[in-house]
């Protein structure tokens, strides 16, 4: 049964990646405000997409395909936090307030007379 090992492994990784992507989407629907939703989309989404590309690399058994897939994973892990950060910053600056449950907002006092530094 050792011949099909890469297929079993790739299949498990593929389903795992799809499950993480689905959880990210559920999080985006269920979480209460933009910034908490961003947690779900940036972390679970990046891991889900990355795992699917890893599955492609594992199943293909081809150095050229696997290299491109791994470069794709690296690219995804580099760009996802950048886009999340850009969107979070843009939303904050255009006065999109965090949800009412938010305990502390030290960024709000940034422009006041009391800078939130230690």
């Amino acid at each position: 049964m050792l011949t099909g090992l890469e297929l079993y492994l790739g299949g498990v990784v593929l389903v795992l990646g799809a499950a993480f992507t689905l959880l990210a989407a559920i999080g985006v629907v269920r979480l209460p405000d933009l910034y908490t939703r961003m947690h779900a989309a940036s972390k679970a989404g990046a891991v889900g997409g990355g795992l699917i590309l890893v599955a492609v690399a594992v199943v293909s058994q081809d150095a050229a395909v696997a290299t491109r897939a791994i470069i794709g994973v690296a690219f995804l892990l580099l760009t996802t936090p950048v886009s999340a950060h850009l969107l979070a910053r843009a939303s904050y600056l255009s006065r999109y307030k965090p949800g009412s449950q938010t305990l502390i907002d030290e960024l709000a006092s940034k422009n006041g007379q009391n800078p939130a530094t230690e």
Partner: protein
């Protein structure tokens, strides 16, 4: 890392991406790699110690582990039926002591992909990162986690 080794690595990457490992294609890759290294000869930082490579690998290993842990944690939070009570979101100011833009960028990206934290903004003088925390427990604990974990490792890699 000497230039010959680098040219061989670049040739292999070229062959892998273009999907053709024939001798002629490898030679073309080596040629392009050589030209690229020649063009970048002034920007070349000089020899790198193996200790630095080990630190980069250690940072990468920590990062991959934390990334998986964070995805699992977000997944667990999302699946809870009592979602509203499980969340204690907050935006806190985390003081950092990094010098260059590259270090701050790397740290901000690492923070975003690790459990329960997301970088929202950085102060103009690069001394404070504003971090959104999904489940706020102890403010000082979050700050010391970042300072003793990723910030320390990032500083080791760049020093």
């Amino acid at each position: 890392m000497n230039p010959v080794f680098l040219i061989i690595v670049l040739a292999l990457i070229w062959a892998a991406i273009s999907g053709n490992f024939s001798g002629l294609n490898l030679l073309l890759g080596a040629l392009i790699g050589g030209v690229a290294i020649w063009l970048l000869r002034d920007a070349w930082a000089g020899p790198r110690s193996t200790r630095k490579i080990r630190r980069v690998l250690s940072l990468a290993a920590l990062f991959l582990y934390e990334l998986m842990a964070s995805a699992v944690r977000v997944a667990i939070v999302v699946m809870r039926p009592d979602l509203k009570s499980a969340l204690r979101p907050a935006i806190i100011a985390v003081p950092i002591a990094l010098k260059s833009d590259a270090e701050v960028t790397l740290l901000a990206n690492l923070i975003t992909l690790t459990p329960g934290t997301l970088t929202v903004d950085v102060s103009a003088d690069r001394s404070v990162l504003y971090v959104h925390v999904l489940d706020m427990g102890d403010r000082e604990a979050v700050i010391s986690d970042i300072a003793n974990g990723f910030e320390k490792k990032v500083r080791e890699v760049f020093e």
